[in-house]
Symmetry: D3
Subunit: 332 residues, 6 copies
Amino acid sequence: MARPVTLFTGQWADLTLDDLAAKAAKWGFDGLELACWGDHFEVDKALGDPGYVKGRWDILRRHGLNCWAISTHLVGQAVCDPIDGRHKAILPPDVWGDGQPEGVRNRAAAKVMDTGRAAARFGVKQVNGFTGSAIWHQLYSFPPNDFAEIERGYSDFAQRWNPIIDVFDNEGVRFGLEVHPTEIAYDFVTTRKTLEAIGRRPGFGINFDPSHFAHQFLDSAAFVSEFADRIYHVHVKDSKRRLDGHRSILGSHVDFGEAERGWTFVSPGHGDVEFEALFRALNRIGYDGPLSIEWEDSGMDRDWGAPDALAMVRRTDFAPSGVAFDTAFKRG
Amino acid sequence: MARPVTLFTGQWADLTLDDLAAKAAKWGFDGLELACWGDHFEVDKALGDPGYVKGRWDILRRHGLNCWAISTHLVGQAVCDPIDGRHKAILPPDVWGDGQPEGVRNRAAAKVMDTGRAAARFGVKQVNGFTGSAIWHQLYSFPPNDFAEIERGYSDFAQRWNPIIDVFDNEGVRFGLEVHPTEIAYDFVTTRKTLEAIGRRPGFGINFDPSHFAHQFLDSAAFVSEFADRIYHVHVKDSKRRLDGHRSILGSHVDFGEAERGWTFVSPGHGDVEFEALFRALNRIGYDGPLSIEWEDSGMDRDWGAPDALAMVRRTDFAPSGVAFDTAFKRG
Amino acid sequence: MARPVTLFTGQWADLTLDDLAAKAAKWGFDGLELACWGDHFEVDKALGDPGYVKGRWDILRRHGLNCWAISTHLVGQAVCDPIDGRHKAILPPDVWGDGQPEGVRNRAAAKVMDTGRAAARFGVKQVNGFTGSAIWHQLYSFPPNDFAEIERGYSDFAQRWNPIIDVFDNEGVRFGLEVHPTEIAYDFVTTRKTLEAIGRRPGFGINFDPSHFAHQFLDSAAFVSEFADRIYHVHVKDSKRRLDGHRSILGSHVDFGEAERGWTFVSPGHGDVEFEALFRALNRIGYDGPLSIEWEDSGMDRDWGAPDALAMVRRTDFAPSGVAFDTAFKRG
Amino acid sequence: MARPVTLFTGQWADLTLDDLAAKAAKWGFDGLELACWGDHFEVDKALGDPGYVKGRWDILRRHGLNCWAISTHLVGQAVCDPIDGRHKAILPPDVWGDGQPEGVRNRAAAKVMDTGRAAARFGVKQVNGFTGSAIWHQLYSFPPNDFAEIERGYSDFAQRWNPIIDVFDNEGVRFGLEVHPTEIAYDFVTTRKTLEAIGRRPGFGINFDPSHFAHQFLDSAAFVSEFADRIYHVHVKDSKRRLDGHRSILGSHVDFGEAERGWTFVSPGHGDVEFEALFRALNRIGYDGPLSIEWEDSGMDRDWGAPDALAMVRRTDFAPSGVAFDTAFKRG
Amino acid sequence: MARPVTLFTGQWADLTLDDLAAKAAKWGFDGLELACWGDHFEVDKALGDPGYVKGRWDILRRHGLNCWAISTHLVGQAVCDPIDGRHKAILPPDVWGDGQPEGVRNRAAAKVMDTGRAAARFGVKQVNGFTGSAIWHQLYSFPPNDFAEIERGYSDFAQRWNPIIDVFDNEGVRFGLEVHPTEIAYDFVTTRKTLEAIGRRPGFGINFDPSHFAHQFLDSAAFVSEFADRIYHVHVKDSKRRLDGHRSILGSHVDFGEAERGWTFVSPGHGDVEFEALFRALNRIGYDGPLSIEWEDSGMDRDWGAPDALAMVRRTDFAPSGVAFDTAFKRG
Amino acid sequence: MARPVTLFTGQWADLTLDDLAAKAAKWGFDGLELACWGDHFEVDKALGDPGYVKGRWDILRRHGLNCWAISTHLVGQAVCDPIDGRHKAILPPDVWGDGQPEGVRNRAAAKVMDTGRAAARFGVKQVNGFTGSAIWHQLYSFPPNDFAEIERGYSDFAQRWNPIIDVFDNEGVRFGLEVHPTEIAYDFVTTRKTLEAIGRRPGFGINFDPSHFAHQFLDSAAFVSEFADRIYHVHVKDSKRRLDGHRSILGSHVDFGEAERGWTFVSPGHGDVEFEALFRALNRIGYDGPLSIEWEDSGMDRDWGAPDALAMVRRTDFAPSGVAFDTAFKRG
């Protein structure tokens, strides 16, 4: 058999963990990647309530599921971002507080540290998430960027995340940034700079999600090869370009799934991601962690889509060759 | 003959108008599109100094050049933008003032109004420029956009630009927004919304520049056809995609011209813009204004490039057919 | 579940309805679209024999099948066409009569009216078919067309079909033209003109079949979006281009399936039709009628192909999303 | 130098031969291919008026022009076609007569015979033209073709053209069919059948025009190679596909040049024809006759386009290698 | 049902025939194509041991398997090749002997003759294999080839293989060359020359394997059509191009499966071979022999891959149409 | 102005240097790259005849030409190659001698050393050429390669070329290998290995010729960027792929220029090389040496082609930007 397949619970936060675990088990998943929102994995309870983490495991085990990672995308986003009203909608009230940007950022950083501690208590060594970025909004460079300012964005990231990773190191937990537009790293160039900014310290790696690469015309397999020693976790998610000369690759400021967008997220296997090439690259670098399906498709029923995506992974993520063919006898 | 060809002076602001006019005339241009920065066209002088506009015309006429438009991209950008340090670098000190955002926006709006008045005094009926945008930085939608906020961005634009266009209407001058990422309109969808926001009033149209469309995978000829009655001016500028699986279409936060970028601006005719299709579309809609070369290519000597671009336009912008063939006798 | 899937019986007219229904039921179809040739649905009997329509329903129900539409392609073709020997082979003798063109056209029109009446009696509200065209043969325009003559072709269509649609309106039945080369409408342009010619009256809509669009290089999803309010019925059929520089897209006057043709019909899922994009577009416009497999592939055993096509539809026609994701919590 | 370049006069029939010759000479053409309509080359006068052909030569020579071929597309079209009102518009009154189809066809055949005789008198050995086709209108095969009827179309062609070619053989003149949709031959398959139908007799060959191949997705160089011994004359004409998912490759029954068409004719060098590959193929088969520019572009001024096309041919039609490189010394 | 599917045993020579037959039967194969190496089919025993061939059949039949062909790729390779150290590794000691090239070639030829005799004794009429080539190493032509030397390569082939085919003819067995780089024939051109060199005698045909065509950019279906009467056996094998501007199509002198190669072999259905087009072509030429899966993919577990490949063939190799549709009634 | 443009004399060895220099000067070349065959640059005379090199310079200067490099492709090829009859045809008799391979290789190496000495005497610091390869013929790896043998090929190269480069170092001259199939390096992978094998010593670099990259699907600009510090000289040569499903990318063992080949050499600008991208890359790495046109096109007259190629270079090799635009003022 190949790698375990998990379901990321972030898009199912309207369901209780118990209900979702029942579904996932029925569909045949091997485990869940728990989101730190909804009731799936609550950091404060994990740290404050002695029985909480055992209770989470009880639910998972009852359904025959395992867990290899938890995820803190929403809080992580606020660590480096310029803060505006959109953050209020995704942050816990105690992180948002009075909404003063620097305070929000600091409270978010503290919460991510707690998430590392909670993961350790939970017995999971991988926390995935976002970092935010002080410079994302300068993407296009008009008015012309002061590129020293761009460099300061990477320093700001390092300054804010080094203390977090110090905590993670202490706890024996690693952070995996989901490389993604709006984050400090979203492609090859920015990932190189990001890793260098933080001194390539092992506590900070990548949760690789190919859906953010397909619409940028980036080669996911090549990324996995270049950053092989920092691929700590993998999402299975897909996106599809719908370019016809009328739809912009930039998204037109309309929501995902709108007919007018030049690309959108789709159920894994229905888009432009070349999963077989990606999985072969993961084989070459020796990645044996979970493939975690982050299911999102605004045009498909999710109960139809999740098992469809699982089946796609099962039929595509074959085991690598275990036989050293004697090449002298094999050709023809 | 086909349309006149002008040179936009914005990228040559280090030269005096006289020196630049001499070059342009020697290369064979028909006229100049004057930028409202450097010494090329100074709005305050045009309004305050009785002999100024005549002096400008004297320079142009001495070199046998004409003028159909002036441009106010830099000041226009500040009308709707969230203001930050980058604006300081491109704004006149009297517009920047104390740098308080709303004050900057208001002073920029006033300066654009003056630009319309100055154009009228100068005897030119077209002012091109940027609008800025209150919502551009929400491009990707993470944290998730409140799409009502996006709609408010269009209202904010209308509220700020309607009074400007009132002045333009009084002066008999029209504004041409260069549809462009970072502006309120940058593609088909956003242009539709922008024109609707301002009630499709005739004083507000488009300075069409195809270089901003090629890297978005948009069809310039189709755009010209759809917005035929608002194509008031045309830039000839080019961009080239350099996608190889490692370079992102989003630009990687590195400067134009860097080897790592997924696309960059290049001298007209050296990129992905399909100029013949565009010019044929302009013929179909009856556009007979200037084709204004905005020359920008960080990898080419500009004195080599400008006449090369002019030659490209001359050999591509053929006149439409003036003969009504008798189709019964023409086939074969 | 998604939409019902039916089998169009036109290519199985050598089997009795009872035999075909048994096969279709075994394969898992939800119903049949009955052709008005062979013994599947006989218009004259439906009107003349009081027990006929009940007998048809008995057969269907015995096999657990439903029916949402009947089809009259062959007779419909003769309503507008210039008539030649090829029509004799596909028309009932009483429609062909003496073969004088105008008489044939009139008798065909009367028979289509009867078909609408028969459908009503049968309790089915959708009749699909062809219209023929007075101008199709002028496709290439050499000798050069008199384009006023082309316009007269659309008028001729309206004049002949308005009385038919009057009958349909009376009966509460709608006609669905299969947009198709050789018909008055075969692409975007001609469909616009056709619908306008008949005043966009609701009784006349479209039976959309994407196989006729793929070889014309037309976008089926875009068509469905543009003509959303006239998509009354949908065929699932496929075609494949086989262009290699030696085979013409025009067909070379050789039969479908010949190796030398530049395109041919193939079993659904084996060709160039992008069914997922089409089905997503149908979701967006709210189409909830049947997907009717019109099976045709001269290189495949039909008993192998029909269930293969059904499986393709089942795995591709997923239900749209019924959940309004709380976008604030869903991203990542 | 390479091959001579001529201008086909068919699209310039509104000008007198003298006026057109003056233009062509000024542009630098080597000669004219004279159309048998307008006043350029009148068959009846050539046969009836003893001084006529000398007069034509006098005009040509005064302008320094040569002539290698005359063309009879319009009359030739009527030889095999079903005749309708469109033919009346392109035929001389004495050929149209009472418009009874078989009579028209026979008079057209007689006129083509006369054209061969006139060519001989004029001292030119090549007559180009169309054949018409009894079966073109059965292109799509619905109602389904009786393919025996298609075969009869080729026989009909042979029966009507063999007597014409007998006359040509007697006169020492060859006919060149412009392979073209609406003619008996329009692609590889139909050209094979056509040549076989007429026994591959040498008097009947091809006037190859690549503009009719590009929109069929056919390889012009491969055609020239396959039918090398029947390439008697070559037209330089171009066409461009404009497929965007909304425009059909079939033409939508709208005129050439309309924005909605999926392809149209354009000035040579502005379309999809790969002229260099074609000219290299002509070099390989040893074709040394004229390249005759048939200029047609509804979106371009013809006085701009004709010399532009000539320049394209001059810079693309290079001479083949005359040196047998000693390969032992040439590599590297 | 369609064609039988066999497994070529060459890549499984580390397993005994009995063990492999058990696997293949379990997976659902119809038979095995036995390699003449490992213990699968030993030529010397087949000729020398009276009970051997019955023993082989006993094993096959016990597992419900059939056999239509045996293969002698390794020994065949040595018949025409310049011999070097690489051959020693793939040849039986009695063929290698002292390693003197001409002696090796002659002993290899004798062994191939014996293989034909053994096949006859075994009751199988098809022997597949390689021929080697005296000229393969002159592929690029630098230093420049003496092309007379190339022609001598084909003569050398004919001279060495005619006596072998004489033996095959006597035994009623046919040879199938796997057209393949490194062999005398590897594409269209060289196959034409090879068949001509040997006088197109029926005893020498082709074991067609499309995996060797995909990386050459060759059309497998077209090959099958051109050489229809010599397609004696078919391998199902696949290859994938991985061109990204950095990997050469020539292979870089690194082993199959290395990340740096521009193409490599992959499990059938995971590469660039268009199997449906190939199988349809096989239907058109009437090939009803086995489809023999030669499984090779250095990045996939073979026990996962073999049944995956079998499933691909079963769902793609549909039966051709057995019904002559009455075309007059079928369209729509 | 940009870089000087020279003509490589290797394909013109049938002309005397004086005659060729006259042609090149007339066409407008800046200089010649002299081949060490024909009478253009004779190594033995340069070393043995005191007035020879001055005489060469006299000829060049009389025609206003310069020289930056000489080339020794033919002799260089023999240094590492397995020797066969093809080498005899390209080697001087004193190098060929008795034709014993190791002797030929040694004498070739000695001659290349002399070439370095002669270049120094001639006052030219660049010698271009080939290396040959002990392993090229193992390109495809069947019989399967022993990859240790491949590694030994690189060692053999280093062992034979290190002493040559010692001589070059002493003379202050550099060698430029033309990366090319049949040489030790022909793509990215093999160039990396080659440079490593020789310790990346500066005396051994690259004469980059993009024509050998286009048919391998390699990115010339990326190559120039990766090996920036070893790009010592640049050839301008072109090749064109002609893939149509019937022609193999491998060449079919037919000569360059044959219609059946999948690719061939063509005059610069007529093929698949992207010269502008290459020249921009050369600008970025600061290459300011000559662009040397190696003209080869078996389908074009060379006297037509050489000036056509020169014109292509002149219009494509623009100077890089010398102005540091003040980005704050340049955008729009």
